[in-house]
Symmetry: C2
Subunit: 149 residues, 2 copies
DNA sequence: ACGCATTTTCGGAATGATTCCTAATTAGAT
DNA sequence: ATCTAATTAGGAATCATTCCGAAAATGCGT
């Protein structure tokens, strides 16, 4: 295993990388990084705002977007874009499949290899992949057990 | 093979299905369906508007959205949603992988089985998939051969 | 500890694709 | 030809995100 995935370890790794790049570690950023490091729920920007305000009550939405943008430019988080809903932010930056519940909106990770490699795609098509987005839409275990709609 | 994929066949199949459901076939809709049936480029709503105006010069954007919405509700096209760009419309409604070029915006189909079945996902996780979205982002053959950015 | 340059914050305005609204038009049935 | 429900068109509204400018804060050098 390359990295521990504990919240504390992930948090200090993020902070170290930002410090190395010369970013200022404000209380707003510390709060955002702290909550993201321990969150596998793929939160939206407004989720992040709500939780960050528990530690830094006056933090603004602009600041949340500015911090999320920095983190994604540095490759430390991934943004999952949706048109009809808010975008979501994923602390898991590896190529993986997300399972998106159509009822409750929960997004969970599907563990396991993505069963098609970029190399294979390029060999067959000439298209050179640099990123991927694999999602299933449906009903999570909880939602499917209480009538799907 | 189940269906022919020729433009003419696809077009008459779409028209038949809409007639059966009682939809009115206006000149605006005929133009939109005609162009979609022969288009594998995954056009945006404004692409559709531009091309539809060649046959029906006064067609409005509202009408294009209304028609696209009808087609997707009937399961005859698929909408690919993007946050930072316009949504795109796919006449290929089967589960398949799309290759999205980051330089020119072209979207092409990757032919071949999607290498992971909904059944397998449900067996491993309890999540019940009903739809999927599999995309690779990168550079199409033309764009990768002229400096990627 | 102090001052400084630069970055960051924050509130509000702007953006833009899509959706909503309403009145006028039209397809298709009788 | 008439009628009615569906469709069209243009404009307003929506809303998450981005942009803007001024005020505040960080962290470095001294
Ligand atoms: Mn994930
Ligand atoms: Mn496609
Ligand atoms: Zn659910
Ligand atoms: Zn290209």
């Amino acid at each position: 295993m390359r990295h521990s995935t504990g919240q504390k370890d992930r948090e200090s790794r993020l902070l170290r990388q930002l410090r190395e790049k010369g970013y200022k570690l404000t209380s707003q950023r510390l709060a955002i990084i702290h909550l993201l490091a321990g969150d596998t729920s793929h939160p939206s920007a407004s989720d992040v705002l709500k939780r960050a305000r528990k530690r830094v009550p006056k933090i603004s939405m602009s600041t949340v977007y500015y911090a999320l943008d920095m983190l994604k430019r540095e490759g430390l988080i991934r943004e999952l874009e949706f048109y009809e809903k808010e975008n979501r932010y994923d602390i898991n930056i590896s190529d993986h499949i997300n399972l998106v519940c159509r009822k409750c909106g929960k997004i969970e990770d599907f563990m396991g290899e993505v069963p098609l490699s970029p190399t294979e795609v390029e060999g067959k098509t000439g298209f050179r992949p640099e990123g991927m987005r694999f999602e299933f839409y449906g009903y999570c275990r909880a939602c499917k057990n209480r009538g799907k709609r």
